[in-house]
């Protein structure tokens, strides 16, 4: 009975409070309680804000926890998408490289010759490279591998679906070369029309590609251009520049090394000229 009388009192207080609340609503509607709002906002706002920020962090954590299945699925989808994009990107790069090499070849004068384009396969050897085209594509031993006007090597072994190309870096490679003066003003023609300053024999060595038998009193200097001029190659193809020219007056000939224009290690596609 006591408890019931106690709740009667509380009920009465609650009704009074509600009435007070309704009065507050009207007062606030008439904008007479702005000072109360400002005071509370300044003093208690930050307290609530700190709590809300902490709550937000917990909430996002729980959201992630609840949606972990969706997140995992999304992650898997993204992985697949990424792989697809990588494949597309790799294909594009492949096409780009092929396009580049064909454009280079088309800009040359020897368009009438027949070429086979091949992908360079990974090889640990510095003496040769392998490509994924062989006798099925018409490649035969002795064919010349090149990129544009740059000499790459000579096909030394062919099977149905692949070929091995001997590079100038090979110790078994011996080729006659011409050394020409470089003329900046005359461009590519400058190499051809200028006189040959010396001839030599190019072969691979442990130190690099070496040119020997350069005439002692010739006007060869660093930076001159080395062309392959060998019966096994046919065309005048560029190999690189003269570097490390020897200057021993007691020798009967001079030697130099070749700084190749294209790095053989980074070749991805080459052309093989079919005889």
């Amino acid at each position: 009975m006591n408890a019931q009388s106690s709740f009667k009192k509380e009920l009465a207080f609650t009704i009074i409070i509600i009435l007070f609340g309704i009065i507050l609503l009207f007062l606030d509607k008439w904008n007479t309680l702005g000072f109360v709002r400002s005071g509370i906002s300044y003093s208690m706002g930050p307290v609530s804000l700190v709590g809300e920020e902490m709550g937000d962090k917990i909430s996002s954590y729980f959201d992630n926890f609840v949606n972990i299945g969706d997140i995992v699925k999304e992650n898997e989808d993204l992985k697949v998408q990424l792989i697809e994009e990588k494949i597309k990107s790799a294909s594009s790069l492949e096409l780009l490289a092929e396009n580049e090499i064909l454009k280079t070849q088309l800009s040359l004068k020897n368009k009438e010759k027949e070429y086979v384009i091949g992908n360079v396969l990974t090889s640990d050897s510095t003496d040769y490279i392998r490509i994924d085209e062989g006798s099925k594509s018409g490649i035969a031993v002795g064919d010349i591998a090149l990129v544009g006007n740059f000499f790459v090597g000579i096909v030394e072994y062919v099977d149905e679906l692949g070929s091995r190309i001997k590079l100038p870096t090979s110790t078994n490679s011996y080729l006659s070369v011409n050394i020409l003066k470089y003329d900046e003003n005359r461009g590519l023609d400058g190499y051809i029309k200028n006189k040959v300053v010396s001839r030599g024999v190019m072969n691979g060595s442990a130190e690099g590609i070496k040119v020997e038998n350069i005439t002692m009193n010739s006007d060869v200097s660093e930076g001159d251009v080395i062309f392959v001029n060998d019966s096994s190659v046919g065309d005048m193809l560029v190999v690189g520049y003269v570097v490390g020219l020897s200057s021993n007056p007691a020798s009967i000939s001079r030697t130099c090394f070749v700084s190749t224009i294209v790095d053989y290690d980074i070749l991805s596609k080459i052309l093989v000229r079919i005889n």
Partner: protein, 167 residues
Amino acid sequence: MLEALYIIIGIIGAIFLEGFLFSAFGIRIFLLLILLLVGRLNIKFLSLILIIYALISDVIFHYPLGTDILLVGIPLIFLFSCSFLFNISEGIVGYGIKYISIAIYLLLIPVLPPFLLSGSFGILTWETALMIGIKALVLTVVLYLLDLLLSFTRGKENNIKISKKWN
């Protein structure tokens, strides 16, 4: 004087806790706190705390001043009205009525403030109603556990008086 300090610290702590729980789980604990204090605190003190807390809540949640008093007042009227028929202090019936009070409070939160702000009631879907039912159940369980915890604490009236008899 000390009571005033308790009230201020308690209100600040409760505001922080409510901000945290509302952001994290969408739960408001105002009514829960009032239900905890009913019967434990003088009704005059309780009314004062309710009004101050309600005003602060109104400002923080950007409601018109007095909204929270109505939000808490309506379920409390239901609760105290039920006290004429049932014992609301304890037992399954008591906590059942408290559950309904809390559910009414949580139901009013999305409905009443929009009405007072714009004149149209807020939208209430079955999903929201289900969530309210679950939240009310959780809060009732929490209320029961807190009641249980507070019943173990020693009040002034339960002090054991030790006396020594000198021969």
